[in-house]
Homo-oligomer: 198 residues x 2
């Protein structure tokens, strides 16, 4: 798979190495310190590059945060994985993708993200933009018969709530349920928000 | 209405005044400082009573926190408001009650609560217990045909997600939608978690 990508890991040009190193460092710093606590200086230092590279590659801390949200997969890949196929099974694909991404590290990265969003207005604003425009904006617009903004926000309630209950509050039996159980239980509800009668 | 309560506000006995003053003070301190930041000493001082009264009335800071969660209405009253009536409209009653309680102050108190839960393991544990045993344990047990624990956790995802999107992230159009629009959009999903086929 790596061979098909334009710049496989072993031979990325220097600029792309810098970008990747900054993203890796940002994930660690945002996870450990939250949005406000993580500084551009500390992230650049951890990445071993000059702090000016953050502006160069991401336009600043906000852009780096949004880019770092997209762990650990390519958003274009996620979008195509979700949008390709029967529109009536979009919810199942969203949930499978969400769980495969976030279950990977026990949900630690997502729990840290929810913490940042809950504690910091700036992080909440970024998450609002990210959810509203990028993820749900594109997915919902592609499948919704009407009211795409309301549907996007409703999908947001289900996905944010799943994140809270499975990874932050860790309420059983959902916290340790296997992915197929979670998808079977939640997909019909999420699908109604996407394409059902509201 | 106050006349029907055993101790209307104007002539509560001293002990109940102490308890009410502690709850009022706790709500302010937890809202301003989060769970860890609010100290028993500061809460008692704000209430104008001895710190030992926190143990006396609530068994400690945890108990005071759980009691303070129940703002601004009596949980017994909430439970009967939700449980009385057609079981197939339980979700509508939960949502109307939830919105009437939390919309009251622009969602500030709930946003503060979500922040505490997201940031502090102790608050997350308390919320887990509160959601699991008290609210959903009683409501879901009363109406669920099967799998009450899974249904309770699923209801938790919808309600926690609504809190996040409406009061913390404030994603439009849900953030400023009128309560009837919110209930109409979400009730069928919540009702499926309570009584539908999973």
């Amino acid at each position: 798979m790596a061979d098909k990508r334009p710049h496989p890991r072993g031979r990325r040009p220097a600029g792309e190495n810098t970008r990747a190193a900054l993203l890796d460092a940002a994930r660690v710093e945002f996870t450990e310190r939250g949005f406000d606590g993580a500084t551009v200086r500390a992230i650049a230092q951890r990445a071993g590059v000059d702090a000016a590279m953050v502006n160069h590659w991401f336009g600043g801390k906000d852009g780096l945060f949004v880019a770092a949200l997209e762990i650990p997969v390519d958003p274009t890949e996620i979008l195509s994985r979700i949008l390709d196929g029967d529109p009536e099974q979009t919810a199942e694909r969203i949930l499978h993708t969400f769980l495969s991404v976030w279950d990977a590290n026990g949900g630690g990265a997502l729990a840290a993200l929810v913490r940042s969003v809950a504690s910091h207005e700036e992080a909440a604003r970024l998450m609002r933009e990210f959810l509203g425009r990028v993820i749900f904006g594109r997915i919902v617009t592609a499948v919704a018969p009407d009211q795409p903004k309301l549907r996007a926000a409703l999908c947001g309630t289900q996905m944010a709530g799943l994140a809270m209950v499975r990874y932050v509050i860790r309420l059983e039996p959902l916290a340790s349920a296997d992915p197929h159980t979670v998808v079977a239980a939640i997909a019909p509800n999420l699908q109604r928000y996407l394409t059902g009668v509201l």
